[in-house]
Amino acid sequence: MATNEILTEDPGLDPATGEFRVIAPGFSFKSVTAKIADIVLTPKTSLGWLLFFAIGGAVATLVLVAVTWLFLKGTGIWAISQPVAWGFAIINFVWWIGIGHAGTLISAILLLFKQSWRNSINRFAEAMTIFAVVCAGMFPLIHVGRPWLGYWLFPYPNTMNVWPQFRSPLLWDVFAVSTYATISIVFWYVGMIPDFGTLRDRAHSNFAKYIYGLVALGWRGSVRHWMRYETASLLLAGLATPLVLSVHTVISFDFAVAVLPGWHTTIFPPYFVAGAVYSGFAMVLTLAIPLRKVYHLEGLVTERHIDNMGKVMLATGSIVAYGYGMEVFMSWYSASHWEAFMMWNRMFGPMGWSYWVLIFCNIAFPLTTLWVRKLRTNISFMFLISIIVNIGMWFERFVIVVTSLYRDFLPSSWGTYRATKWDYMTYIGTMGLFTALFLLFVRFLPMIPMNEIKMMLPSAKLTAKAEKAVGAGD
């Protein structure tokens, strides 16, 4: 390529391809381990961490307050009403679950596809998934009118001889989300076992040694261990892969199965999955960009990652845009008055502003700019775009839930929706909860898989020289 000569001057670029390197040059096994393990094992907790953790924890208490009040008073403290009987709780649920999807996609699908660049971002993306599922999983429970009876959604043997109603998509949600949470946690944990071994071995305090030793499950790094580890990873990746598609498909059924115009549409499953990955990658970016800056991980999470994630967003964003386009097209092509009115109302009704916010945040802004490589590798710009897409994807759910409900079949029942402070408190509180959990993760667990990074180092290639290095025990 003609540009190669110019680009090779940049140490971050691979001279062979002209792409950014996945790992900046100069890393060795030792330096990778030191870089990542020291973040965790340092006895000094930075003031910045404490500050952000305090903020996150304080914000998380909003959830505690809001949910306590909710349990005392009932769901009426929220803005939900007739006809808009679902509001922030469901919007937030879908939004958080959607965010989680990127983590699973990165850790499972990209693993199967041997996209080794994913190794740098896989661990914290997966942590993001779990914390997002924690935040998401809270909502279906607290949004019901009598949460103390929420266990009735599970098919458990009981003296009443009553089963859940298996035709309800809400029940499918229960299975989908609980499976998803289980697999994600197991996959995440299994992935960390070799790193726990490393941490155990490097830890100075006895307490840390004890704890990391406990969770390392006796990892010794033997070939047998590695073999089983790799097999388990592959199996779990195989299990998790369909979940990436199925969980949000099932969640889209909550809407698609209903008779409501704006919900009742077959395009929802793919469109929801694409949207989930879109928002998930945006969230990974939102997390990765400050992380690499603060912990000086630019060498491990390089512009290549940012660039790749931008490309994934471009692709999934385009699918989402296609979905929006199809909705508009079908509202005309179906010749159904319900669809036509729904779309007119969504665009030009009293809440039309929300539709245009969504169009701007999800399509107009990202899908025009992400084509440009300069912008894709501009860190500040990518951070901005990740925030915008997150907002846009939240509004997508808002538009779907609220603007379909508030003006449905019988015009006499039309209403409106205006969120209350309790709605906002719960939503913002989950962000605090997420932040706090994520900061704990960053502080106490290896946020980048050392073993997988090391495998990607040039020295991991089994050359004679490398074998020596391995033998040296790094």
Partner: protein, 1027 residues
């Protein structure tokens, strides 16, 4: 008989008084922990707790405001609970009853005939009583006047009985007193005034409806010839008295092909005398278009459901109606004492076409004048009816239903001037609230101070009760014996169903004090009144029992005559169309304010506006534009120096430069529900202009008011491309309702040429039962269904209030209604069609449709809403976890959710009122119309006992029972001979949202209108109004 049993119950309640508890505590040697209670007993907290434990003092206990007080009392009352738990049975052996009272079977209700003494004539009732508690008020189905129908006010009176804010004891200067103490003082006064003929003794009462009370007064008057009785109700019939004297007009709409209303709102509320019968007869002529239809013309000021049901409605300023009536009379050849006015083309054409139609239907038409109009309108209407030969055919003159007809405003004025001149020694106010509702110019509150002794008898310590020296706790009509005439003259005995809850006393007892037999009970007084009548044929006791049983006294209906002379009254000239007039009307929900503490009625969306919990300045859209204000802005309305601030609401069809205000709001001492709701329109109302004030000034002031309007209304600004008309003059909801086939109707001509119009054409989707891969479920037993005749429904709301009472529905309050959380299982959807300046409206009662393919059922994750083999879509409250998914998936949005703890589980008096067959729902639970499943079950049990099928008409739902228009039919669709099955087969029957294949069990019969071809509607050209 009920009264006796009630006494027993009260005695049981009184079995443990504070004194007895004390005595018991002192007398017993006691277990150890009793001593601490004994110590406690001396403290004021303990006394307060004990006082509140007993119903006759249970005042603050039920007031949510003093929850703090409740918390303070917790300790002491917990101790009390311990006390109750440890109380021994008496040492002597006691036995429970082994034979229960003959007429009491717990769990099986009894029904008693009685009547609600409404100021416009009694409403005969059959009241359901469960364990001696009246729990449901409904019309007496055998009574010839209402045939079982009722109205919102009547339905609401049940809650009035159990109102926790009722006055619970008599007071003197606010201190508690006994009735006997008052009697002592009053008798002393009477003895003193024997000599001067009762001079200075004044009585002020609301309109007397009881012939017995009238008789008692006449006897008192004979003993005290100088005593004065003044009747006053703010919504009174002075105009009738002025126009035709002590007579009433009755109309027979079953014989009328053409009905003309001149500002007579006879279809919307029982504020119009004879409402129940008029509605029934009016809609009877609209049920079978194949046999022809009547035609209704309405000329009205305030938009009412009567006008919106009309084939032809002409909105005129209230001040123009007399002149319009004169023009109509002149057109019909009646001599008129007024100069001819010139009318714009539209009105002139209307008069011509109307007159032509009336002439063509002479003797088969009727002209009804509104009683809140100028008396000249009534007089001219009489003259027109006479000229058309309607008297004796569709119009009758009878004795008046008021036993003591008077000109009330004039009498009140005289009373006030007597007060000011110091002539009033004693003023006894009976069941009236003049401090609140007397004309503002009389300043009654100040005048009341001039009375040396003032007494107020009433069920509430209201604005008047708190100003008078004495307040006497009054009785509800279900607590005392009385009598009343329904508008056709038939006398009903008002039987009490429960002993006075708070030891109240009735007006009968008070007026009886003036007689020689001061302690004669109301029971005996009523019997005395009717002894002669009931002894005419046969024995009195037997006839008395029969009258009580049937609910009316045989042979007391008024003779229908034709002799009436209308006074020759000057026709007032209409005010300039540029000047602003203010129209005062009784509120459709809370009447003149007497029902303002009834949550059911406050929460009821008023017909036309769908406003609840408030009144407002009702304006036309054009006036709003002209004033450059918006809905919810605050307006200062000034009339004759008096100013009130009121929020603004637009009403389609309202005349321009005209403001309607509903009376009855802005009360200060109505109780926890009514106090502070809305603004007080009485402050604008003077004795000279009780129903119409002219020359008002409107000015916008700062502030915004949030209304609780249950149905939004938007203007349709969509362009043609998006399915609208672009003008902004039409209602978006109305346009959509027609496009979506929710409302289907045709003219009589269209119907004749195409009787199947309701199920044909693009916008009229049909139910197609065979478009399914799965075989249809077979309903082999009963298949319950409902049919609602949209031609009959007049949107009066009686069904909704009836549903409240039957199904223990919670009242949620204004703020919750504002955000769309009202709990009414049944609503009446109002859709405005056409130009909002001259709209037509369609009323559609909408409750759960009991879809055979119910979308709600399949999305419930716990199976809390399921289908019964008889086709009912049922809610299992116990199983509901409250995901609200069912509500989202309900295309009819008829499900109601307990977002908060809406049901009142604390107020003791309300517990007595609840229907024991229906659970009271707690928070977090979805609820909805059940087709009154408890009534279905009751009928099925009866049928099972007799080993037969449920008969058609045996199951009557609460809404159906209340409906004065018999618009609702319920029954078994599988019984081919049932009325509902026949209606389901009617060509006009359609399902709402049929294209969704929900297969609703509730179907609607499309309306057919009978417009006059000469009055083809011409589109009105005007700038779009704001709204």
């Amino acid at each position: 008989m009920t009264s006796e049993r009630g006494n027993d119950m009260m005695n049981q309640d009184n079995g443990m008084t504070l004194a007895e508890v004390r005595a018991k505590l002192n007398g017993s040697r006691g277990k150890r922990y009793w001593r601490s209670i004994d110590e406690l007993a001396g403290t004021p907290e303990f006394e307060a707790a004990v006082a509140r434990e007993f119903p006759d003092q249970a005042q603050e206990w039920v007031d949510p405001v003093s929850r703090r007080g409740f918390m303070k009392l917790m300790g002491a009352s917990l101790a009390l609970a311990g006390l109750a738990g440890c109380t021994k049975q008496p040492d002597e052996p006691i036995y429970p009853y082994v034979k229960q009272p003959e007429d009491l079977l717990l769990g099986r209700p009894d029904y008693f005939a009685t009547a609600y003494p409404s100021p416009t004539g009694g409403v005969p009732l059959l009241v359901k009583s469960d364990a001696y508690r009246p729990i449901k008020v409904d019309g007496n189905p055998d009574h010839p006047y209402n045939l079982g129908s009722s109205d919102p006010y009547t339905q609401g009176t049940l809650l009035d009985l159990y109102d926790p804010d009722r006055s619970q004891h008599s007071t003197l200067r606010g201190e508690r007193r006994e009735w006997a103490e008052f009697v002592q003082v009053f008798r002393d006064k009477l003895i003193a005034s024997r000599g001067n003929g009762g001079e200075g003794l004044y009585f002020l009462t609301s309109t007397i409806t009881s012939p017995t009370l009238a008789r008692q007064w006449k006897e008192a008057q004979a003993a005290y010839p100088k005593a004065r009785l003044v009747q006053y109700d703010p919504i009174n019939r002075d105009a009738v008295r002025a126009a035709i004297g002590a007579k009433d007009l009755q109309y027979d709409l079953s014989a009328a092909d053409v009905v003309v209303s001149l500002d007579a709102d006879f279809l919307s509320t029982a504020a119009f005398p004879g409402f129940h019968k008029l509605v029934r007869e009016f809609v009877a002529r609209r049920k079978s278009p194949e046999k022809g239809l009547n035609r209704l013309y309405v000329v009205e000021s305030t938009t009412s459901t009567t006008g919106l049901k009309a084939e032809h409605r002409l909105g005129l300023r209230a001040g123009e109606v007399p002149a319009f009536t004169a023009a109509l009379a002149r057109e019909l050849g009646v001599s008129v004492n007024a100069p001819a006015a010139t009318w714009p083309d539209s009105e002139a054409n209307f008069v011509k076409a109307l007159a032509k139609d009336l002439k063509a239907n002479a003797g088969k038409s009727v002209v009804i004048a509104g009683e809140q109009q100028d008396p000249s309108v009534l007089a001219l209407a009489v003259a027109i009816n006479q000229a058309l030969g309607n008297f004796g055919k569709t119009v009758f003159a009878t004795e008046t239903v008021q036993p003591l007809p008077t000109s009330q405003t004039a009498e009140l004025k005289a009373l006030v001037s007597d007060l000011w001149s110091g002539k009033v020694d004693w003023l006894v106010i009976l069941n009236a609230n003049p401090v609140y509702n007397a004309p503002a110019d009389l300043n009654f509150k100040a005048a009341l101070d001039k009375a040396k002794t003032s007494v107020h008898l009433g069920t509430h310590i209201d604005e008047t009760g708190s100003e008078t020296l004495w307040h006497l706790s009054g009785t509800h009509y279900l607590e005392t014996w009385s009598d009343v005439r329904s508008y056709d003259g038939t006398v009903s005995i008002v039987q009490p169903l429960i002993d006075p809850l708070y030891h109240g006393h009735s007006a009968h007892e008070l007026v009886q004090l003036l007689s020689d037999e001061p302690s004669l009970s109301p029971y005996e007084a009523v019997r005395t009144t009717w002894r002669a009548q009931l002894s005419k044929s046969g024995e009195f006791e037997a006839n008395w029992r029969k009258a009580l049983h049937a609910g009316w006294v045989e042979g007391t209906a008024f003779e229908k005559g034709t002799a009436v002379t209308a006074a020759s009254l000057p026709v007032p000239a209409p005010s300039s169309r540029d000047s602003v007039e203010v129209i005062f009307r009784a509120d459709p929900s809370i009447y003149d304010g007497r029902f303002s503490n009834i949550g059911w009625l406050q929460e009821l969306p008023k017909p036309v506006t769908n406003l609840s919990w408030d009144n407002a300045a009702l304006l036309s859209g054009a006036t709003l534009t002209k004033l450059n204000i918006e809905e919810g802005d605050i307006l200062e309305v000034t009339v004759g120096g008096q100013t009130v601030k009121t929020p603004v609401l637009v009403v389609p069809g309202h005349p321009d430069n005209s403001v309607t205000v509903y009376l009855g709001y802005g009360r200060e001492q109505a109780g926890r529900v009514g106090s502070g709701a809305g603004f007080n329109a009485y402050l604008l109302r003077t004795s000279a202009t009780p129903f119409l004030a002219t020359g008002a000034k409107l000015a916008k002031t700062d502030g915004k008011w949030g209304f609780a309007v249950t149905k939004s209304h938007f203007q349709d600004h969509r362009s043609k491309f998006f399915g609208g008309e672009g003008s902004g003059n039409n209602s978006l909801e109305g346009n959509e309702a027609e496009t979506r086939g929710i409302i289907r109707w045709a003219t009589l001509e269209e119907f004749k040429s195409n009787p199947g119009f309701a199920n044909e054409g693009e916008n009229h989707p049909k139910v197609e039962r065979d478009v399914t891969l799965f075989p249809n479920w077979e309903y082999n037993g009963n298949a319950w269904g409902m049919s609602i005749d949209l031609n009959s429904c007049v949107g009066c709301n009686a069904c909704i209030v009836s549903c409240y009472a039957e199904n223990n529905i919670a009242v949620v309050g204004k703020q919750q209604v504002r955000i769309g959380r009202n709990m009414q299982w049944l609503r009446i959807d109002t859709y405005f069609e056409g130009d909002l300046a001259t709209p037509r409206a369609h009323f559609q009662p909408m409750a759960c449709q009991h879809c055979e393919n119910a979308p709600c059922e399949q999305v419930c994750p716990v199976g809390a809403t399921v289908h019964t083999p008889e086709g009912l879509n049922t809610m299992v409250y116990n199983r509901c976890v409250g995901t609200r998914y069912c509500s989202n998936n309900c295309p009819y949005k008829v499900r109601r959710y307990n977002f908060l703890l809406f049901s009142d589980f604390e107020t003791e008096s309300l517990k007595l009122m609840r229907n024991p067959d229906v659970s009271v729902r707690s928070r977090g639970v979805m609820e909805k119309c059940s087709y009154c499943v408890q009534r279905i079950s009751a009928a099925k049990i009866e049928a099972d006992k007799e080993n037969r099928e449920v008969r058609d008409g045996e199951v009557v739902t609460a809404c159906q029972q209340a409906c004065p228009a018999s618009a609702i039919t319920f029954g078994n669709l599988n019984d081919k001979s049932s009325r509902v099955a026949k209606l389901a087969k009617d060509e006009r029957t359609y399902s709402v949202l049929a294209d969704l294949n929900t297969r609703p069990r509730t179907t609607y019969v499309a309306a057919v209108l009978n417009p006059n071809p000469e009055l083809a509607e011409a589109p009105v050209e005007h700038a779009p109004a704001k709204g």
